[in-house]
């Protein structure tokens, strides 16, 4: 792993509305990961952000489904630009 990526990770919390991203990985334990998987949030999946409510939850579009993700959760979804 390259050291600087740890500091400059991009998460859903920082994502810009209207832009497209790809999930790198989920920073969480077994329970969280499998739950997010079942809702369609798996690594290498495309996602776009519909709404950044500023401090509140983020709405993302993934596999054609709109999902609201709380701030804390959004910071655990590591993404990269397409």
């Amino acid at each position: 792993m390259i050291a600087f990526t740890d500091k400059r990770v991009l998460t859903v919390a920082d994502a810009l509305p209207g832009k497209k991203y790809v999930i790198s990985h989920i920073d969480g334990g077994y329970g969280l990961r499998s739950h997010l998987s079942s809702m369609g949030l798996v690594p290498n999946e495309n996602l776009s952000v519909l709404n950044q409510s500023g401090g509140g939850p983020v709405t993302i579009l993934i596999k054609g489904v709109r999902i609201a993700v709380g701030r804390g959760m959004a910071r655990k979804i590591i993404i990269r630009k397409v």
Binding site: Y30, L32, S37, S48, N51, G56, L61, G64, V69
Partner: protein, 716 residues
């Protein structure tokens, strides 16, 4: 004899599962609980071509892991009860995600039928879908349905019967996870298949996959079923070796790789059978959401909707309430005239009609409130409300999802406690439950309507609204307090699907409304009737007989003599007799059990401005909050000194100051909801938490009422 088939409906939340269930069963539904837990279990039946088909509605889930209680319940029902057919209701406008659950059901190797629901939306948007091909690729019969129009139900039943009778042969399709994982699965399969008890109960492959996914619940089950400990630790060793092996080769944990492979399988199947238009198109839902979940407009819109809801519930509800009120009044008069004065008349008029009528009168409000909640749920706005509230909820230490139990709490606290189950983290759930009681439930509404109308006739609506607002404020403060004391820590993360907006169906709303209203009516017919009778007994016995402190009979006689000898006028006579009868009535009631108990506890309530009767009424509210009204009805109609039958409202307004009325409403708002709710609380959260809930709400109710009354007195 007709044959019975049991089917279980599985499916994602928002897939239209409930609508299909309603269509299949119509009014023949039964709501119960899964054994040991308070998760609602809805069952129903349908007669179809000589079969009796029992239908079980499983909780809506995204998968069959052990992430939430709902998932465990759905999974255990399928494994343990072995329904003849599992029907997976799939939102066909969102196939990829919905089929994820389907792949897990396939893995369980249960007889399956897929219902591709809302197929009209998919086809209407111009997407082409080859159902036959997809059915082959997934090895499962697929039926097209349109839940809200009731279409495809017979076809679905045909498929169910065929699968149950094993007439429909499909080739078995297995989701493959790639060579690395398959090798490990084979190793685990080999060791667990040596154990007959396990091999008989489970699909071995499914079990192996679950063990690789480190599913805690499955691991425990395997440990229980295995006879020797050494055997289990052997399995455990092999599994952890496999996991380590996969991690080292694939550089990812098995559950991620497995999830990926499932989506891979789904994509593969869809690629050949499904043509999708450009993804990410802006839908009508998105357009509505831009307004509804807008960072500036979201909250005000939510507040306005809530305000409109309350206006609707109270303004519209007022008319049928008047009719019911009149009806019970007439009934009371009728019985009074038909029966001679005495115990039986008092029992029927004061005990039965006064008690139960006082509660039934609020049915219109309850129905309207439940209609509103059903509309909010079915339209998809409820999820948006949770979204809009998440930031706010987070600030007070709650969870966006806490909002839904809170809203349901305005209807009834019992389902509200149950709804808190969707909050996965225990601490979050407990805080939500502990403050949920301050969301004023429908049963408390009768108390406010009575008291607000009595003491604040011109501002009744506003006063009631203020009580609700105070409840919310108290909930916020208590949540903050609990978060910083007993339940320290950050709320857990929030993820929630925002389903597309839908126009709610009339049938769906009626069924939802009726389910909940029926519970209310049943309560009025059983618990409340019972308590009304009990209260009447407590307020009637022991009877005073001849034990009056003075000889009132003689007094009345001497009055009449004075009248006959023209010493006093007719008017004076009537007045004096009324006074004497008032004294008698007071002594009669003071002689009863209720009064003795009431006087005993009165000192505790005196500082809140309550007299013994209010004390008794508030305590009776522990049984059920509506009982406060029926108790007051019984209590004041018996104790009413004068013969003119004044309405309860007027009596109250005569006897107490508005400040006392307000203090009383606050007490009723804040103390624990009712016995039924506490029973549920105990099952959901444990005995200790239940006692905590009872203790702190009673204390809080006392403190707030005390403060309001004592401070209020300084100004009034």
């Amino acid at each position: 004899m007709e044959k019975e088939i049991t089917i279980a409906l599985a499916g994602n939340p928002n897939s239209g599962k409930t609508t299909v269930f309603n269509n299949l069963t119509g009014a023949r539904q039964h709501v119960g609980n899964y054994p040991g837990v308070t998760v609602e279990k809805k069952t129903g039946e349908r007669k179809y071509k000589g079969y009796k088909i029992n239908i079980v509605d499983l909780p809506g889930t995204y998968s069959l892991t052990a992430y939430s209680l709902d998932e465990v319940i759905a999974r255990n029902f399928i494994i343990n009860e072995k329904p003849d057919v599992v029907v997976d209701i799939i939102d066909s406008s969102n196939l990829e995600r919905n089929l994820y659950l389907a792949t897990q059901l396939m893995e369980l190797e249960v007889p399956l039928v897929f219902a591709f629901n809302m197929i009209d939306i998919t086809k209407g948007s111009g997407k082409r879908i080859d159902i036959n091909l997809l059915s082959e690729l997934m090895g499962t019969p697929i039926v097209e349905t349109i839940g809200h129009k009731g279409k495809g139900m017979n076809e679905l039943m045909d498929a169910v019967v065929e699968v149950a009778e094993k007439k429909m042969k499909k080739k078995k399709v297995v989701v493959r996870y790639g060579e690395e994982i398959e090798n490990e699965i084979a190793k685990i399969e080999k060791i667990i298949s040596e154990n007959k008890a396990i091999a008989k109960k489970f699909s071995i492959r499914w079990l192996a996959v679950k063990l690789l996914e480190q599913d805690k619940d499955v691991m425990n089950t395997v440990e229980e079923l295995i006879d020797s400990n050494s055997k289990y630790s052997e399995i455990e060793k092999i599994v952890s070796k496999s996991i380590a092996h996969i991690k080292s080769i694939l550089r990812d944990s098995p559950e991620t790789v497995i999830a990926d492979a499932r989506y891979g399988f789904i994509n593969g199947a869809l690629q050949e059978s499904y043509e999708e238009l450009q993804a990410g198109k802006i839908t009508v839902s998105d357009k509505i959401d831009r307004v509804m979940t807008n960072r500036i407009l979201g909250l005000p819109i939510f507040a306005v909707l809530m305000w409109l809801m309350f206006q609707f519930v109270f303004k519209v509800g007022a008319y049928p309430m008047d009719w019911i009120d009149m009806g019970f009044g007439k009934l009371g008069d009728l019985v009074s005239n038909a029966l001679p004065e005495g115990l039986l008349q008092s029992f029927i008029v004061d005990g039965l009609i006064g008690g139960v009528g006082g509660v039934l009168i609020f049915t219109p409000n309850i129905i309207l409130l439940f209609i509103c909640i059903a509309v909010l749920e079915d339209s998809g706005y409820m999820a948006r409300a949770a979204f809009v509230m998440d930031r706010l909820m987070h600030k007070i230490g709650l969870h966006g999802k806490s909002f839904i139990p809170m809203l349901i709490g305005f209807g009834c606290t019992v389902p509200a406690y149950m709804a808190a189950r969707t909050i996965e983290n225990r601490r979050d759930r407990l805080v939500t439950m502990h403050v949920n009681t301050f969301m004023s439930c429908g049963a408390r509404l009768p108390v406010y309507i009575l008291l607000a109308a009595a003491f604040f006739p011109k501002y009744a609506g506003n006063v009631i609204f203020s009580i609700y607002v105070i409840g919310i404020i108290v909930a916020v403060l208590m949540a903050k307090l609990l978060r910083s004391t007993r339940f320290k820590g950050e709320p857990s993360p929030f993820v929630m699907e925002l389903p597309p907006y839908r126009i709610p169906t009339f049938k769906g709303i009626v069924i939802h409304m009726w389910e909940r209203t029926w519970l209310y009516l049943k309560k009025a017919g059983t618990i409340i009737l019972g308590i009304s009778i009990l209260m009447w007994i407590l307020f009637t016995f022991p009877m005073i007989g001849d034990n009056y402190s003075q000889d009132y009979g003689a007094e009345i006689e001497s009055m009449q003599e004075s009248f006959e000898s023209s010493e006093i006028s007719q008017e004076e006579l009537d007045k004096n007799i009324t006074v004497i009868e008032g004294k008698m009535a007071k002594e009669e009631i003071d002689y009863t059990v209720a009064s003795r108990v009431g006087h005993f506890i009165e000192p505790v309530f005196k500082p809140l401005g309550f007299d013994w009767r209010m004390a008794v009424a508030s305590i009776s509210g522990i049984a059920a909050k509506e009982v406060v009204v029926s108790t007051m009805g019984t209590l004041y109609s018996i104790t009413e000194a004068d013969e003119e039958s004044q309405s309860l409202r007027d009596t109250l307004a005569d006897e107490y100051s508005p400040l006392v009325g307000f203090s009383f409403m606050l007490f009723v708002l804040l103390m624990l909801p009712c016995m039924a709710a506490m029973a549920i609380f105990r099952r959901e959260a444990g005995t200790k938490e239940m006692w905590f809930q009872i203790g702190y709400t009673l204390l809080l109710a006392w403190i707030v009422s005390f403060a309001v009354y004592q401070i209020g007195r300084l100004f009034i």
